[in-house]
Symmetry: D2
Subunit: 406 residues, 4 copies
């Protein structure tokens, strides 16, 4: 019995893989694993239904809490961003792969399949985790390898061919024209890409958005909310402590009603392609905005400058899916030290697409009435004369030399 | 005849300096220089009026075009920002000081006076320029030195004492209570600070804003604008080429009506104090947003990452007023090379406080139909297998060692 | 007539490629191009001889001066280093590929062959240039593809198989056991790698070195030399202006006699493998040491700190062979600005493996008697009180808070 | 009884301070504290003797072990360097100040005196610690304030005046001409500065060195040593575990005999002055060389690149004496994480001024026979084709656009 664990979303690509790994790769026992990181209920039900129809042994694994606690919260602490996008799809992939490995270990499988193509980022993220945790496992990527032609060559699958193939194996998918765009959704964000959306200069149509209201459609009055952080982690909303999943879910709803969280960027994919991407991530944008504002209150200027580099590097590693990279762990040690002081509350006004910080307060603020007076005791304005006189000393030497023709 | 050039705003502090440099510092010829970088007309008229009354030889110098071309445009190219604030006050100071030096040279003065206190940033910026361009000049800062007491000691001036002193010398300023906040304004931005506004947790009252409409008060419908850049410099708005000053002025008006450009941050001042600051800078925020979007289209991933560090360093030097620093020139050489390709248009939607990029287009885009096809010719999906297999190689070695207990 | 230009060193691998591209890839006209960047005369003669025997149309192109002026000198200005190794092999590859392209254009060839395997760095460097300059060209890498077995599969060539194959096509190479190590040599450095030398803990035997004398064998007395730089480029040795090639050649000889320039590092190759590498590069080490010392004299502290990052990035791009990368050009614009001031002389003592700077002098020094006195005029020691008092202000606030239990 | 703790070296400057703080600053109880961080025995005895003669209550505090364990070892882990100088004087100052504070607390003193002038770095380092740990304490710096003239003004003390003043208070110091240079010495290094030594182009005379033999005078045969590290800390020499102080002392002797550890740089002082500095630090140079080599073996490429920035920042903070800065603590958290794997041995050859790494070995090496085979299993050379084809993709797009005139 050759067993394979298929990382399974229930979409067309991964569904096609079920019969494919049987027919072309010789696996007679296909285990499908769908990891629930907050995608729509209907996607999960569709996965269960299709897996059943295609004769796979199916598992749905609820990883929502793990996802928020161990993936989203670290992202908050690192102001997790890649080129302007709050890392969402990218930080869910490692968890999905990790759960697939757990299931494979439990069921004694030593092969994995996934539905990623060869152009995108997800193949890197998923296979990195698989190879790290089970270096000996076989990995099959039928969509990347392409459809086998009679002469042995392979070429990319077309959507129409995939539908025919799936239907021939028991699904009942209507032949529609090419799907216009593809969506990936988890608790931390929703990405919409593909088709004309990839063009830099195509204004995205309103219909691609599901979580955020558009201009002219937001709630008509501003809403002020308060987020409390402990050690850089959001713990309460408007004074009420919430478990991680509820906090994110609630905030997605509230901020989304005010249109907060739309992101429209040019993104550099891992293979070097530049693609236009649209995201909506109301909770993520709101929490990252608040977190940054709190850091600006409790960190020294030197820390803020250096942590910007640390965060950027963290974001790049997370984008690449290198979840167990030693540098990532080193950066997180730095971040953890800083976050010890990132305690307090931030007040934001949500309105018409913007989450604006209007106040922040922390027991660890490097600002306070105490300190201000401490400062006036130790600082006599006339003493700044020496500071001013030495300001830019080398810079002035340089200018002086240049003026004298050197 | 001991001549002094006084960097003059027409405000209370600098007005007090006119009689002070005569009585306490022995200058019998006071030349006041007010540099117009876009502050309100009435401020300029007030400066002229007060200088006349106090018997100074007054000059108003229109530097608006110089300011935009040689200070704001370089700031755009460097995405000029300091801790979230589009550098405005800080980049006007060097120009003001520079014009004071020109006037001093013209009139044969070798001493300068200014009204800065010893706590702020402006003393650094202004004196750096004066010391750089006229290292031999004497510099007088009466507000920083404080009021001389009968016993020879000095203490900070109170507002009330300043008013009495000014009135005793011919002005007619009513005794009002302490001014609640202080404003600095130029074409590139407006800062409002002081009083309760310095507290991190005090929501700024609507009345401090003058250039931007507040929530609930913005224009009711979104407005789409197009900005064209040549070599990183904005040259046209909605297809119409505008001279630099008009472009900024127009955009301040348009974006301000949509509430774009309010900034509320904790800022680390040069002496190490953390202070809450409020800014409004509609044109700056809009242009910087557009410029960043265009760079994301034409720069490689490596350039974007490295330029972020270059820009941050530039911003820090500009904040400190080190306008002639050799490192600033080096960074600008880097920036100039990048900007050669920052050509094209950006479309933004202004609405309810936000300037959202909705499209971008450039002849230098690292994205195009041509290139996409060029790419498909050279890339066969199955070839990504090797890339995926080597992804995170060292990272996986590390994990493997760690698992084996090392 | 299918023409191919073969990047040809005359070694076994590239020699095997001559008949291979004929027999397996269908090229009937093989053009071999050997680019002289300072490798041993006998290598060049061997290449000519073997190409003739194997029936190729051969060209030897003298690129030594181009190499020093346009590849080594920029490396000096960028303190060109990768993980402790003065970039040498890596900066010669682009030039070699470039010359191959020129020859292909001249002769109307549109295909290239090279002898790189699939494990190393050179395939990246050479193909990057080929693909950049002639994106439409076909590229053949027979060693990377491996030997075709009767069943169509391929496997890596063994040295013995290569010798048999070469001899069968007219060469007369004796069957010896596996070559112990492989050498790459150009004017800027000599690398010795392979076999046990790749082990981190194997002390390299004295016999691998050819340019540098070992401990106990160096010239018995110290030698002081003076190097003069103009705009960061070495122009004279001991007061005598030398053309670029002579300067490097002379310095390789002199510094080599004193044992200067041996480098022994762990190096991270492009595919992620860590390998131990041995280099000898007397001129490069001496010139880079001198150049750094001169920069330390003429650059501000801020420039030195930032240029270290610029140089590191430059080194990484050069190591990867990305010679036409836009970021490399941007960094070079920064570097060029700095180098305008890198003029002057550096005195070094060469002795027993070390090039020690013992003096430096520059018209652009940010140190001089003039400036020292300028400084004493403007600086009164007691004025440093204010500077000292504000030193570490935020840092002390932090400590204060921590002490009070927050 | 007004008590003051004087940070006391026993040199002329600090000795003059003893009577001065009595006569001019009104302290009637002077406590002198000399902290032994490895300076010469005779300096310590001289301090005791002079303090006695001048009537101070004297304490010598042996802090050698603390110094190595809590100051030098962290410096090793951070590759502690500032502009090419292994931080030595700078990392001893905080400990000296810290011990002074402990003594003051013990004896109930709330004032401190020190002998630093206003031009150097030490005033910053010492006062930062004093102000951090006892913000309320009074700090007196008589040398910085200068000698009081009859008219109340102050001017810098001359050496001759200091000698006269000291002798008038009971010392017996002969009037010699200006000391040629000044020396600071602790276990980690010895600095020699001042006089002509500050000139960039003055070859330092052999006589300034005390710990290291010069060219022509070193031991005649190479010596190979082995240093073992645990978590980045040196624990054994040639297989023998040594306590921290013995390890450093022994290595200073051994490496010094081979002339290892001379440093000659241009250094940017904290006030912006560039000064030529000479150091000798045999143990520090040897250990830092070994430590770097071990890191190169166990860290990923990404870690090495990023840690270089972390280390540089650490070095800058340490140079400034900001020992309790939160950023320093954050950086140390990063460093600590990396150092967990910095275990193993490094073999070095000491000879004629150079410590050359000739081998390194670690259980945490990202190189091993195991891993090499792991690699060959997962890597088929022909798979690198895809990697090579995507190498520099954006860079080639850029070039393509540029060629087409954009």
């Amino acid at each position: 019995m050759k067993k394979i664990v298929l990382v399974y979303s229930g979409g067309l690509d991964t569904s096609v893989c079920i019969p494919l790994v049987r027919e072309e790769y010789g696996f007679d026992h296909v285990i499908t694993v769908t990891v629930d990181v907050g995608q729509p209920e209907e996607d999960i039900r569709q996965a269960e239904e299709r897996a059943r129809r295609l004769g796979a042994e199916h598992y749905t694994i609820d990883a929502k809490q793990l996802f928020v606690e161990y993936f989203c919260w670290p992202a908050v602490r690192a102001n997790g961003d890649y080129e302007g996008y709050p890392l969402s799809t990218s930080i869910a992939r490692p968890l999905i792969a990790l759960k697939a490995v757990e299931k494979a270990r439990e069921l004694g499988a030593t092969a994995f399949g996934h539905g990623c193509t060869g152009k995108g980022n997800d193949q890197f993220r998923i296979e990195y985790i698989l190879r790290t945790l089970m270096p000996e496992a076989e990995i099959i990527a039928p969509m990347r390898e392409g459809r086998r032609l009679p002469d042995g060559r392979r070429e990319p699958w077309t959507r129409s061919e995939e539908i025919d193939y799936a239907n021939a194996h028991g699904l009942d998918i209507p032949q529609t024209k090419e799907r216009i765009w593809s969506v990936d959704e988890n608790l931390w964000g929703r990405s919409i890409e593909g088709g004309r959306l990839e063009e830099p200069d195509y204004a995205p149509p309103e219909e691609i958005f599901k979580w955020t209201r558009g201009p002219g459609n937001c709630l008509p009055t501003p809403q002020t909310i308060t987020i409390e952080f402990e050690q850089g982690v959001p713990v309460a909303l408007d004074g009420q402590r919430l478990d991680p999943v509820s906090l994110v879910t609630t905030l997605n709803r509230i901020a989304g009603q005010h249109g907060v969280g739309r992101i429209d960027i040019m993104e550099d994919r891992m293979l070097g392609l530049k693609v236009r991407e649209n995201y909506e991530c109301p909770a993520a944008v709101t929490l990252l905005t608040a977190h940054r504002a709190l850091e600006a209150l409790v960190c020294t200027q030197g820390e803020l400058k250096f942590k910007a580099m640390v965060d950027r590097e963290w974001g790049e590693l997370a984008y690449k899916g290198l979840w167990f990279d030693p540098l990532k762990e080193d950066l997180e040690a730095f971040i953890a030290r800083v976050q010890e002081r990132v305690n307090g509350v931030v007040h934001l006004r949500l309105f018409q697409g913007t989450a604006s910080v209007i106040g922040r307060n922390s027991p660890n603020a490097l600002y306070s009435a105490d300190l201000a007076s401490f400062d006036s005791k130790t600082f006599d304005q006339s003493e700044s004369l020496g500071i001013v006189k030495t300001h830019g000393l080398q810079s002035r030497m340089y200018f002086h030399l240049r003026q004298s023709g050197r």
